[in-house]
Amino acid sequence: MTKSTSTLNAGDPVISLHNVSKWYGQFQCLHNVSLDVGKGERVVVCGPSGSGKSTLIRCINRLEVHQEGQIVVKGLEMTDNIKSIDAIRRNIGMVFQNFNLFPHLTVLENLTLGPTLTRQMKKADADELAMHFLRKVRIPEQAQKYPLQLSGGQQQRVAIARSLCMEPEIMLFDEPTSALDPEMIKEVLDTMIELAQSGMTMIVVTHEMGFARTVADNVVFMADGRKIESAPPEEFFGNPREERTRAFLDQILKH
């Protein structure tokens, strides 16, 4: 894996945030955040809890609505136009901290729901696609089970496969390993590393600094709704510029 790819030579950004701000009532949770992500680029967003990192990536597929600034995905600006929301969502997969699998559907049905309903694929084709991605995440034998019959790590891999079944160009990960037992974190990270190696554009909110070191092209540090610092991992971990970044890294790398 090369870590030398930078934003500049990765071509035009597929995701471009420009001065994005958001308020919850009186409380401003995002302050003029700007971020460019190129095709195939892997960005890790970290920071203390409450820093707005989840809110930021949830704005990208409009699970949260930003009030100021611009979010442009593949040249299409995210507005309240339902057509552009739909088009952007089709292109972005999302993995949640709590998996959010549909508990009343089997694993296979979880995976085929999107393809059959939004992409209007035939059931047989959707099944084939789903099995393809279940093999990719190494749990094809669980296809007929229900989500709650699986372990946390397996559920999260199913969730990744569910997103991939929409064949998106971009994947967002919102703390994908935070709800997992320690022994299951690795299987999920391995899956994510494989995905990164296949050239997927990824934005990952995580506290897994090991993952950031090996996979990220860029590490973004956020605090209090502001982007504090952004740098390639070796620079970010080796020589952080900002005092707050140093304090944060000190705290989480101590153990």
Binding site: N98, N100, L101, P103, H104, G114, Q149, R162
Partner: protein, 397 residues
């Protein structure tokens, strides 16, 4: 530790003490005492009733059920005349109760689900209308609502000026008269064939699930199942020579001839009790929808599902497991509410039971029969709904 106390250990009756102070012994004693008290109370009431009846020279027992009723009933599902027995009259009443309850449950469920979904709609106007509807129908006593609908129907035009429903029927103060297939013996067999088709589909679904679990192969039984449900009655219909005569209603004198008529009493009662229940059902549906975790909707949005698909395939199936138990209570209470039929003169079980009671003087027995019948109907309803609930339950481990 009590055992460590030597004074305690020296007591000769320690075994006895162990029993007296044991939790299971205490529980048993309380239960026996309660059962005894209830039994004594029952015995007292029973003897009291028997004594009073004997003093008034009223015969006890259910023999009166075999006597001739000598009264007519306006609306019957089975053959009945004043020369039939009280028992048959009560059966007519029960069937009428079941008829109005079944229709009421269907209407209440349809309206309730639509209004409940509208209650959580993003459409401000729709949401407000739904909220207003709920507050009105569930906060006005059901008996007033039934009387209200009876008054509305009574003020519809007479048959001569009836509202013509584009050639398919008439709406008048005699109720709703619609064109129906002319009665034919084939119909009963078609209904039986339909029931058989549904049963076969359920059995097929069970089989397909077992097959899938055993072999991993998925068999889709939806289409063969639907084919059975539609096809079996169709085959029966063809076997009877495809009777296709349709009876159209016509104005005749002061009434209609042909077609079939839903009586004003039935419509008033059914509308009243089902709209009343629909307000509660709407709230149950709303609660169920809001009980579905937010993450489920977010996950569905992130795979770009449209709002109506999110509702249909993600939210409602999960909301159902929260909805079904309180929905069962609403169904049961709707069935019981149908007993206010007497205020609009619909001949339900209580209405007819009343007449029977007045004619025979056998109040205790008649009421016992009615209570038992309602109990059975309600318990059967609950059981069916519980079975359904187990069907939609989420599989864990």
């Amino acid at each position: 530790m009590l055992d460590a106390n030597p004074a305690y250990r020296q007591r000769p009756s320690r075994r006895m003490r162990d029993i007296l102070y044991s939790e299971s012994f205490r529980t048993a004693i309380y239960q026996i005492a309660l059962a005894g008290a209830v039994g004594l109370l029952g015995l007292f009431l029973y003897q009291n009733v028997i004594e009073n009846l004997q003093r008034q020279n009223i015969a006890t027992g259910f023999g009166f059920l075999r006597e001739i009723s000598q009264f007519e009933i306006g609306e019957t599902l089975i053959e009945y005349s004043s020369r039939d027995t009280y028992f048959r009259a009560l059966v007519v009443g029960l069937l009428n109760t079941l008829k109005v309850s079944a229709a009421g449950i269907v209407l209440a469920t349809l309206v309730g689900f639509c209004v409940g979904i509208a209650r959580v709609s993003n459409n401000w106007l729709l949401q407000r209308i739904a909220t207003g509807y709920v507050e009105i129908v569930r906060n006005i006593p059901v008996i007033l609502q039934v009387i209200f609908w009876a008054a509305v129907i009574r003020n519809l035009p007479a048959p001569r000026q009836a509202l013509d429903l584009w050639g398919t029927g008439f709406l008048s103060n005699r109720g709703l008269t619609v064109a129906t297939p002319a009665s034919d013996p084939a119909h009963l067999w078609m209904i039986l064939a339909f029931v058989a088709g549904v049963a076969l589909m359920v059995a097929g679904d069970r089989w397909a699930k077992r097959h899938r679990e055993a072999t991993g192969r998925h068999v889709d039984i939806l289409w063969p199942g639907l084919a059975l449900i539609v096809g079996l009655p169709l085959l029966v219909w063809l076997a009877f020579g495809a009777p296709h005569a349709i009876s159209f209603p016509e104005r005749k004198g002061f009434n209609f001839a042909g077609g079939s008529t839903v009586s004003p009493e039935f419509v008033a009662l059914m509308t009243g009790i089902s709209l009343y229940a629909s307000g509660f059902i709407a709230e149950i549906v709303r609660a169920g929808i809001q009980a579905t975790p937010k993450g489920q909707v977010e996950a569905a949005r992130s795979i770009a599902l449209r709002p109506r698909f999110i509702m249909r395939y993600v939210v409602l199936p999960q909301a159902l497991r929260v909805i079904v138990p309180p929905l069962t209570s609403q169904y049961v209470s709707l069935i019981k509410n149908s007993s206010i039929a007497v205020v609009v003169g619909y001949p339900d079980l209580v209405n007819i039971g009343n007449t029977v009671m007045n004619q025979t003087g056998q109040a205790v027995e008649a009421i016992a029969v009615m209570m038992l019948v309602y109990l059975i109907v309600s318990l059967v309803t609950s059981t069916l709904m519980n079975l359904y609930n187990r069907l939609v339950a989420i599989k864990e481990r």
